[in-house]
């Protein structure tokens, strides 16, 4: 599978070329154009899982159904994109390691990647990330998306990421909610409030912007909701 991500960081789309017989699985609604592929829609991965996988995925902010695109004999092409403006990135899932992805940031993955629901504790609510995460394991490539430009940080020791800015991280890292700097007062008055402190060794995928913050600057200008 050959992936090319164009038009980032503002309006990223992923152009995927599949060899004959190769399959890519994606969340429903992500395909914008395709050629030479057959679509099948299931509630689970093709070779494993069952309908409960679909229900669990809904909790994770992903869609109930997943689409599988399988290329015909001459090979096929699929264009994937997402609703919100933002970036896309390709991550390599390696056997033995797991990548935890923010709910709603998962776009697509190769056949060898298992997509499961993940639980990071109630702290996720305060981390403005949503209660459930998506866990990628197995081996293969996966595509994630974000609101904002995606950049990576290689953490060795400790690193702080503001709440709402995490896209994905390797499971060798653990995070806890913490304050930015040495005093709680500074952290709260400084507008940072709670931040996520990662510890361990691994890679973090971060998004530069936060959809809620943008929403808050737009919100006051919108008409109030009718009751």
């Amino acid at each position: 599978m050959d992936t090319q991500i164009d038009n980032g960081p503002g309006a990223a789309s992923a152009f995927i070329q599949l060899a004959p017989g190769e399959t890519i699985t994606s969340e429903s609604g992500a395909m914008i154009a395709m050629n030479g592929c057959q679509i099948s829609t299931t509630t689970h991965k093709r070779k494993s899982g069952n309908i409960f996988g679909g229900l669990k995925r809904m909790l994770g902010g992903e869609s109930f159904f997943m689409n599988h695109y399988t290329a015909y004999n001459e090979g096929g092409e699929v264009w994937l994109a997402t609703t919100l403006a933002g970036d896309m990135a390709e991550v390599n899932v390696e056997a033995g390691t797991k990548i935890v992805v923010q709910s709603g940031s998962y776009v697509a993955s190769e056949d060898g990647v298992e997509v499961n629901l993940d639980w990071q504790g109630f702290k996720s609510l305060f981390a403005k990330e949503g209660l459930f995460w998506i866990n990628l394991s197995g081996s293969g490539k996966a595509i994630i998306n974000s609101f904002g430009a995606i950049y990576t940080i290689d953490c060795d020791g400790e690193y702080i990421v503001d709440t709402g800015h995490i896209v994905a991280f390797e499971e060798t890292l653990s995070f806890k909610l913490s304050k930015a700097g040495k005093s709680w007062l500074s952290s709260i008055l400084g507008g940072e409030g709670l931040v996520c402190k990662f510890s361990g060794t691994g890679r973090i995928w971060v998004q530069s912007h936060h959809a809620s913050n943008f929403g808050h600057s737009l919100g006051p200008l919108l008409r109030p909701r009718k009751q």
Binding site: G148, A149, Y151, D162, A180, G181, L189, S208, H209, H210
Partner: protein, 221 residues
Amino acid sequence: METEIYGSPSFAYVDAKLDPGETIICESDAMSTMAAELDLKAKFNGGFFSGLCKKFLGGESLFVNEYTNNTDYPLGITLTQSTPGDITAYEVGAGQSICLQPGAYICSTPEVKLKVRWAGLVSGISREGFFKLKAQGPGTVWFGSYGGLVEKEIDGEYIVDTSHLVAYEPQMKLKLQLAGGIFSSFFGGEGLVTRVEGTGKIWIQTRSISGLAGWINPRLY
């Protein structure tokens, strides 16, 4: 301090590396990632009353954050803004300053002084804000836009649509006027515009939040 702006022009963010002992000042909630060993101090934006003025009149935050590197090796921090758009760094010379529209300021080096200045009655009425932020050098100021950022050298006068002006050099004068005659102002969708007079640089943003809100509102129900 080494700084770099990535993600331009749609989702720009500032990536800074602070050397030991260095400090960077930024607006509330601008930090998106930082090394865990950096120290954070929240301070009133230029003093309590000045901070209050800046919050309610200048569209900035009451508190500013000071991130200091108190270790003996360089540490990284990334700073961002809430709207998707571009960011530019402006070098302010000693004694010189730059005027920023409300909300444009992101961060600056510690010797830069941030002041709130009266922007004029017309500026307030046209919803450009009654007050503006004046950043006085020496140092570097980072400011951002919603949408792309266009820098323009003016000599004489220039017309900028309201809500599209981001920053301008202090010697420029701003006046409000109708876009065209009464007819084109109402029906041409332009309404009031800002006339910038003088010689110097201005910065324009290619999108406006009020424009987006105006597009969304009729489609809400």
